[in-house]
């Protein structure tokens, strides 16, 4: 590890279908809020990191230039990091590396997306290989559904149990979203609503899937010296991990999912975490699909493979459970993709600094933030703690 790095503040837009603002104004909403949160001004920023999904999402290429004013990046070094769904965590890693290296003291990271302005499914299809695989991935859901199906079949998880567990995850996160002022989808759903919802890509049903959201998130990273000078309670970066796999869906196992397992292991090693379920106080797991959230619990060592549905149904991962996961309502209720991973980081920072408001996990001191990208190809983790 290089120098110690802290997150000193966060800003989020009110996520949702935001046809009331242009894309740059949406980005500015998050940037204004991070400056309000920290009391800093644009002149305090040494560099800016920006990221989003592929240009096809909004039909505008190289949006870090488009947002130069909205991010107050004029006259500053600017970097763009893009790793599909894991973009937000990759932006956070880029900002972390920049400050940790000693080449910047205060870096602004901004993730953004306006999914309602284009065709999100078509955009995600362009991520897949064009000659052979693109036809079969069914936007994004097909890939994640095949992965989920393979997982439940391999561990003999019964149809009845997995549907109950997926419905439980959906119901609790939809409830959680009511306590998050920035969340997109705020609807009350019942177990039966989820279990009987229309099949999208079996085993995935409508209420197992995230929405298309518009939103942005801004986070300020600072060196130890800068953080102490500014003097606010900070979230300290305790570990980062990132791993990729082969491009082709089919070349590597997506159940014992090495990129997820190894990314977590790298971050745990840096943070000195041996038993994540006991040591972590809260996790913001990237959960655009209920089934995939449960698979991530297993890949991250929260429980053994094949056992997460049982623990889900016991309430282990609810806000009052042993390891609360996605108390913000998570990606299932809010998914402006280029911002989503950074929202996980922001939510983790809010938790360990006691600023998560109505969805605060009392006394949270150590948090995990995660995002996944590509055709099940990349996973990124950041661990944040309340102590240096």
């Amino acid at each position: 590890m290089g120098r110690a790095v802290a997150i000193i503040g966060v800003g989020q837009t009110h996520h949702g279908r935001r046809m009331d603002v242009s894309y740059p104004d949406l980005v500015r909403e998050a940037v204004v809020r991070v400056f309000e949160d920290t009391g800093l001004s644009p002149e305090d920023i040494d560099g800016v990191v920006s990221g989003t999904m592929p240009s096809m999402m909004e039909g505008i290429a190289l949006t870090h230039f488009y947002f130069a004013e909205a991010m107050q990046a004029v006259g500053k070094p600017i970097l763009k990091t893009e790793t599909c769904g894991s973009t937000g965590v990759s932006i956070a890693h880029t900002a972390f590396y920049w400050v940790s290296s000693g080449l910047a003291d205060i870096v602004l990271a901004v993730g953004h997306e306006k999914m309602n302005e284009g065709n999100s499914q078509a955009t995600m299809t362009t991520v897949a290989e064009p000659f052979y695989q693109r036809y079969f991935i069914s936007g994004a859901p097909g890939v994640f559904s095949m992965q989920s199906q393979m997982w439940t079949a391999r561990y003999g998880i019964s149809e009845e149990k997995i549907r109950d567990a997926a419905a439980f995850v959906s119901v609790t996160h939809h409830d959680d979203a009511f306590d998050n002022p920035y969340a997109h989808v705020k609807v009350k759903v019942s177990m039966d609503d989820v279990k009987n919802a229309r099949v999208i890509t079996y085993p995935i049903r409508l209420l197992d899937v995230c929405p298309n959201s518009d939103g942005a998130c801004a986070v300020i990273f600072a060196s130890e010296e800068a953080a102490k000078r500014i003097g606010r309670k900070a979230a300290w970066v305790k570990g980062v991990g990132y791993r990729g796999e082969e491009y082709f869906f089919g070349d590597s196992d997506k159940v014992v999912w090495e990129s997820a397992i190894q990314a977590a292991r790298q971050a745990y090693d840096q943070a000195g975490i041996k038993d994540p379920r006991k040591e972590l106080d809260v996790a913001e797991v990237y959960n655009p699909f209920t089934y995939q959230e449960m698979l991530f619990y297993e890949c991250f060592g929260f429980c053994d493979f094949g056992t997460s549905p049982d623990l889900v149904l016991k309430g282990t991962f609810t806000r009052r459970g042993e390891l609360p996961c996605d108390p913000s309502g998570g990606v299932l209720c809010t998914n402006p993709i280029g911002a989503t991973g950074l929202i996980r980081v922001a939510e983790a920072a809010m938790q360990v600094t006691g600023r998560a408001g109505d969805h605060q996990i009392p006394g949270a001191k150590l948090a995990l933030a995660h995002a996944m990208g590509g055709v099940d190809q990349f996973n990124g983790i950041m661990i944040l703690g309340s102590n240096l």
Binding site: D20, A122, F131, Q133, Y135, S138, P141, M146, Q147, G250
Partner: protein, 153 residues
């Protein structure tokens, strides 16, 4: 109700011409002759299908060609019940990962050849581990859809 603001409706149409290269030209030409080709890695011995120009893990050229029989075992599947850009056929259809006999990676394609219009009937037929066989199109143009789908054996 929030105030309604104006929107701009715009489109981008961009034609592309993507190069297959030598390995994939041979693989896709093979489909015209109802042949599925893989290549074997000289280092790890894995048979990769579709054929690759190099082994993704060993990073060495894979120039030993292997003709793969169009039969295999179902590894994973999903029943797609919505329309999307670039879909191979009208839904519903079943996407699948298939481990073709004698290969070491999973092949992504469709399964079919039985009634899949009714979801409840379809899911009773499909079982992981079931044996499958390629069903070919009569009109083959060197495209991945020259294989219509894999049907139960």
């Amino acid at each position: 109700m929030s105030k309604e603001y104006r929107t701009l409706k715009t489109e981008i149409h961009l034609p592309y011409e993507l190069a297959y290269g030598a390995t994939w030209t041979r693989f896709f030409e093979g489909l015209k002759e109802k042949k599925i080709y893989g290549t074997r890695c000289p280092k790890c011995s894995r048979v990769l299908v579709p054929a690759r120009s190099f082994c993704p893990r060993c990073f060495v050229d894979t120039d030993e060609w292997v003709e793969v029989k169009g039969e295999g075992t179902l590894v994973a599947w999903c029943y797609t019940n919505y329309r999307y850009f670039g879909m191979p056929t009208e839904p519903p259809f079943i996407g699948a990962l298939i481990r073709l006999d004698g290969t070491d990676v999973n092949f992504l394609h469709l399964i079919g050849g039985f009634d899949i219009r009714d979801f409840d009937t379809a899911v009773k037929t499909v079982k992981n581990g079931m044996r499958l066989k390629a069903v070919w199109s009569d009109d083959r143009r060197g495209h991945i859809m020259d294989i219509r789908y894999f049907a139960p054996l």
